[in-house]
Amino acid sequence: MRQHTSAFKNKIKEHGRELDSVITFTSNNETIILGNEDLNMITPQFIGSILKSVMRELTIDSNVEIPKNTILNYKLGVKVRNDEVVDYRDNYDYVDFGNYIVKEVNELVDTHSYEIKCYDKMLLAMKDYESLNVTYPISVKNYLTAICTKLGLTLATQSFVNDSVTIKREHFLTDDNKTLGYTYRDVLDEIAGATASTICINEDDEVEVRYITETNETFDEEYLKDIDVKFKEEYGPVNTIVLSRSAETDNIYRPTTLPANPIELKIKDNDLLNDDDRVDYIDGIYNKLNGLRYYSNDIRSTGICYLDVCDRYTIQIGSDTYSCVMFEDSIDVTTGLVENITTDIPESSVTDYTKADKTDRSINQATLIVDKQQASITLAVNTANDAKTTAEGVATTANTALSTAESASSTAQSAQTTANTANATANTANTNANTAIGQLSLKIDKGDTGEVVSAFNLNSNQVTISSDNFSLTSAGRITAKSGNIAGFDMTGTKFSKDVSGKYDYLSYDMFRALDCYLRDSSSSTSSSQIMDTGSKKLLDTDNDNKVELLDTQKILNYVIGQATPTKTATGKFYINSDNPRKCVQVVNSDNIPAVSLGVNGVDATNVGCTTLSCTDINANSLSSYSILTMYGKLPELELHKYIQNSTDQILRIRPQGFATNYGMLKRYNKTDYTGTSYDIWDDSIKTTLYNNASGTTGNITLSSAITNFSYIKIYFKQAGFYGSKIVMVDSGLVGNNIVLHTENYYENASCQEINQTYKVTNGTTLSKTYGGWRIQATGWNADKTLCSVYRIEGWKK
């Protein structure tokens, strides 16, 4: 009850009472007092209930503006004396309705007044819940104290129901302390439920854990208006307490022996009572609320004004008495006063006790937990204390869990996952008590950017799924007819994936690009001779349909890490069990196979490697072998055939300019390593030293000194018969002779032998010194006019 005098109590109901309202506040360090002349209407009110928190409200129609956030006090007085006083208020006794915080101020232009809405200090709890920086586990009392401290309030009640029960964990934040949309007020509601109380602010602005208190006050008809007085049904007497979670599918109750006619009060989906420690709370709640009863009512009173929330009082009408509890009250104070008192009864519920139990450690072993905090639904299968217990089948319908998920802090529209039938079968319970052997949970959360994230978790020792197109065995074997995993598509006998990304150039690409450029730069060659269009596209870094030196340079920069490739390559990757020839294949963007791998080996458009070895795949001996090896690093093509004690032949082909050899095709004898070299010369180093289509039989003048060349080739003819001779140029050739000697020269059907000798008189002159012919090794006939030389070519070193 609010503090009041007996004079007030007597006068308030009298005919001709005189009222006075006083609002006091401080503004600019000055105390302002507003009285009846400033106030047009005041309405203090509250709407509360059992197991909830209450916030009182004060609405004022004032001729004086009161700034927002002002803390004001309201008192209602009744004239109780008629003394001659200086201050007329000395003749009044007042009831203090407490302190309020001005929340809204609206100017009413038509009446030149202000409508001011105020709330008591429970308003401070109307903000997002944040970490309390406490250590868990923590007692309920200390937890509540921490909340009060956070709000700048003091906890008035030092002892209350379940005050020493420990809260094991943080219930109202995510694991990383992010908000779930709860306010401190919401949390106070949960604490009120867990402590079987009503939490409110008392007259000293302290947080009070309040219980229904008998006032022994009886109000008869004189306190009631002659209209709008209704008494409805009586609630209670409560003889059963049910703690419910999981959309009311998982319930525990007290007393342990159910009454014949349970009249239950159900506390459902309280976040503090959502874990497996409900037994810690339920006895205290039961002990407090057992026997609770009161009448619901709707009363218009002439005014009592001193009853407060949770006050029990009696209404007597004639011979009928109604025991009521004050939960809702509204007093309209204008020139007169009317008080409206309403008491509703809690929502009725009926529990199927066959599916409820006394504790969380039930034999059913399957619990469905709706966690509004985490926006999750968890089906947990636990072992029980008793071994060898069989639960054949526990089917629970979680349809109503949808509405629970929808009322969760995040948008749960996507949580339209219906677990119509959850069958938890625990064939054998082992002796390890309370060991969770399986868990199924549906969770909705918010990600870091506020997006809604949904998660469906199945955690079990054995998971089996069986359907026509998909199965999972307990051993973990998956059988599926098709699928798509990270973009990899599986259909029937094919496994494929589109590939796309920046082309990651290697050194092979650089050299291919250079080759393309060199071949395209020559009039006699073309890059199309060595490479297909698709491969060239990838080397065309700037997409100008040409592979140029610039492309080569760019690729070099990619290879050495001085630039980042920007060209995108696409294609497709296949594994196809229907195609033994190409069971693994990659095709390019034109759907042309780039590489295929099958039962007959590998086919590829381009292959890049440092060393390539070709030999008999079954070779297993070093006494006899054949091998072809390409050494890209040198580079060198080596052909090697070895037969023990018989043959060791090595043929190596190296490019021009390699070490001391020039385009050498080297035949190599393994036994002495001194084999004979054969030079291979190409026309790029050839010079025409003499050219005369008619030919000459006389002296020849070369266009360049013979000593500039490694060898020369002399072309000659004799009466329609042509021949040539290669002469190696060494340091001793100048001053010596070159002999053009032909054999088996047929003229007149006779075998003739011709010998023309030139002396290299100086570097550029070949002087004919002798010429002769003979038939079949007979004597020579001198004739210098034979074998006209028509061209001489020289190859430089």
């Binding site: 005919h15 001709g16 005189e18 001659e84 306190y223 002659d226």
Partner: protein, 127 residues
Amino acid sequence: MFIDKNSIIINGVSMGQYIVQAQYQYNKLWAEDSGRNLAGVQTGTLIGIFPKIILQFRRLTKSELQIIAPILDSPSQSVTYFDPNKQQYVTMETYTGDYEIVNKNIVNENMKNEGFQISFIAKRKRA
């Protein structure tokens, strides 16, 4: 209660010399919550006693009327009267009702206005 010639002073002017009758009304103003309760008993909040003094003026000369007319015409007046309940002189702020002056001849110091009546009503309840 008119206990002497200065029992009614309005805006500092003693009206006793001008009036022939003073009627005192002590009107109760009830709040809208007034009515019968469930027991059939009349209940309600008394907003207060709002005194009302009705003065009957005698025939006034021209100069006399000119003295009191401004008082009668002002939007509010300060009226001091002897209250029998309070047993003392009480001052209240009032407003007036309408009044009218009848002339049956030319008014001067000799020829007077006809007498008239006016009400002085308390703006606030009596303390």
